[in-house]
């Protein structure tokens, strides 16, 4: 019979053993590959390196394919909770040193338990992915594991923020979990996500491609749109996650964390009066406007590598968090295409779910034309933006900087989609279509019958532009509630945002809307 002292010693040893994960050698290999261990990542993520680990003594129960008796500390995933900048956050951190971080039933169960706790506590959940995938030896049980994880991701969706860090492989079905979460941060050169890997693809289609080219950070962020942030390394990924969290409420019943002092800083910025070029064809960098409107240094861009013609970012205005959607005239003419629609609409949905007011900054010439866009379903995808903005019940404020034509303008949250406030700069061109198109329809006969049709056309276009491509037609009908001097934009937004703090918008009861997918 062992003494109490011996039992205490036993606990010490067990703890030490589990802490080592797959062992010294595997830890060294992890470091050599430029990766931190599961524990090291958590240590960096949580305040003062403190986190309360749960379920560390979990053991797998599998016996087939050589699994019997196999020692897998914590079954390859470290789960726990702690404070990040003082706020409660739950995490799961896969341990690549333990059987490649493979997912068996108990591994998945731990993750689901932690997610369930996050759900009940109303606290954010962060998943650090670093795993070779399903533990094939456990057969259907590993599938059960993944299935449950996806189920919980869906359960938590829109209730607590979910952030996924891909700091290693995340292949096959595993990639679905990050896709179901709200934001994905991937470590460049190390993180990889794909459903079918290079070998599978080579066998099936004969295409030859490297893992990095197929599902590495750059491709996923800029091409496929599955990744929202690219991190230089583990430490950077963690910092991104911490910064992101600082903009988000703990759960959907709370407002985002405010740094407001109660004062509104209504600074006039003369530079804004000079930013828009005289020639309406000239682009400019939308960020120069955004940086002058929002609190300095608070703009946190999301998906910066994807659909660059649309900017989505978090920012603060007088300390209050806002979600910003803006066109970028310097990319693809600022037009909206399929990717831009997906990017903007998902962001809008996220902000709406988490009580983050939306500010839309508009300079859009239209939808990007093209057979490829049509066949790709721009109709379905563009509709998502209209849906997301219409359905949003958070405060919605729009500022029209320059171009605002047709359906593309509506998609950027026009008054008729329920925008609470819409301001326009004097440079705004709000019209159902551009002057050229309009004149061709309205003055067809006049142009045909003119002595010099080309000249007549040019004259009419100029005249139409003067009269209609302005904010005043819209203002006359109340579709715009103010035409403001650019330098006063911050002041306008500050007052608007403050006055909408207590906004209540009731909608007909439903399980959920049916956004076009």
């Amino acid at each position: 019979m062992s003494t109490v002292q011996q039992k205490l010693q036993e606990l010490k040893e067990k703890n030490a053993h589990v802490n080592l994960g797959g062992g010294r050698d595997k830890i060294d290999a992890q470091h050599k590959a430029g990766k931190m261990t599961a524990h090291e990542r958590l240590h960096l993520l949580y305040d003062q390196g403190f986190y309360d680990e749960l379920f560390r003594f979990i053991q797998h129960g599998s016996t087939s394919f050589g699994m019997a008796g196999k020692d897998l500390p914590a079954d390859g995933v470290v789960t726990g909770l702690g404070a990040i900048r003082g706020r409660l956050v739950y995490t799961s951190s896969q341990d690549f040193t333990v059987m490649g971080g493979s997912v068996g039933w108990m591994h998945a169960r731990k993750i689901c338990e932690i997610m369930d706790m996050a759900l009940k506590a109303g606290a954010p959940y962060i998943a650090i992915n670093d795993s070779g995938g399903a533990r094939i030896q456990e057969g259907v049980d590993s599938l059960r594991g993944y299935g449950r994880i996806f189920y919980y991701n869906t359960l938590l969706s829109g209730v607590v923020p979910q952030i996924s860090i891909v700091a290693g492989p995340c292949a096959g079905g595993a990639a679905y979990s990050p896709a179901l979460m709200d934001f994905v941060i991937m470590v460049k050169g190390i993180g990889k996500m794909f459903i079918a890997g290079p070998e599978v693809i080579k066998e099936a289609t004969g295409e030859v491609i490297s893992a990095e080219e197929l599902g590495g950070a750059v491709v996923q962020a800029s091409h496929s749109g599955n990744v929202h942030f690219i991190a230089r390394d583990d430490a950077d990924a963690i910092e991104i996650a911490q910064t992101l969290l600082s903009y988000l409420p703990a759960n959907n019943t709370e407002d985002p964390p405010s740094l407001s002092t109660g004062e509104l800083l209504m600074i006039e910025d003369e530079e804004l009066n000079r930013l828009v070029p005289d020639d309406p064809r000239d682009p400019y960098n939308m960020f120069e406007i955004l940086q002058r409107i929002f609190d300095p240094g608070t703009i946190f861009e999301v998906q910066s590598h994807y659909a660059k013609n649309m900017i989505v970012c978090f920012a603060r205005l007088n300390g209050r968090v806002v979600g910003v959607v803006a066109n970028q005239p310097a990319e693809k003419f600022g037009a909206i295409d399929i990717d831009a629609s997906d990017k903007a609409s998902r962001f809008v949905r996220f902000c709406n779910a988490f009580n983050i007011p939306l500010i839309s900054v508009v300079d859009v010439p239209g939808f990007l034309p093209g057979v490829e866009q049509e066949f790709g379903g721009i109709i379905r995808h563009g509709a998502k933006m209209l849906f997301s903005f219409s359905a949003a019940t958070v405060p919605k404020i729009s500022v029209v900087i320059r171009k605002a034509y047709g359906g593309a303008y509506l998609a950027m949250c026009a008054k008729s989609l329920g925008a609470d406030r819409v301001a326009a700069w004097p440079t705004a061109e709000i019209a159902v279509m551009g002057a050229e198109g309009a004149v061709s329809v309205l003055f067809k006969t006049d142009i045909q019958n003119a002595p010099d049709p080309k000249l007549k056309r040019r004259e009419l276009i100029e005249k139409y532009r003067e009269e209609f491509s302005t904010p005043y037609m819209a203002a006359a009908r109340g579709l715009v509630d103010a035409v403001i001097e650019p330098k006063n934009t911050r002041a306008y937004l500050s007052v608007a945002l403050e006055s909408l703090r207590s906004k209540r918008d009731l909608r007909p009861q439903k399980k959920h809307g049916l956004i076009p997918l």
Binding site: E203, P283, F333
Partner: protein, 104 residues
């Protein structure tokens, strides 16, 4: 409409007898992009050519000015290099994917 003629599709190392969709048959297999080529990604008419053959450029230097939808956008270089050949001229409307410029 799916083609009713049955053919084989290999999934998971097993060959299934099935039919293929038109979309599937028309898909372009992956071919790695030549980094030395600048392709046309946005529609438009070439308004200006900023560089000359033999000129050395840096990443993000403007190469062309494209105009469409009553807007103008610059096509920027994605690498540091020397311009080898310019394959379009002012007034042209390149097709998507067309080579605009090649680096050495």
């Amino acid at each position: 409409m799916s083609d009713q003629q049955h053919t084989t599709l290999v999934i998971g190392d097993r060959a299934y007898e099935t039919s293929l969709t038109k979309k599937f048959k028309q898909r372009k297999p992956y071919a790695p992009l030549d980094p030395k080529k600048v392709l046309c990604v946005i529609p438009g008419v070439i308004q200006k050519v900023y560089v000359k053959e033999g000129q050395r450029v840096q990443c993000d230097d403007p190469l062309f000015l494209l105009e469409a939808m009553k807007m103008q956008n610059d096509v920027l270089s994605h690498l540091d290099g020397v311009v080898m050949s310019i394959q379009v001229q002012v007034g042209q409307m390149p097709a998507k994917g067309q080579v605009l410029l090649e680096f050495e």
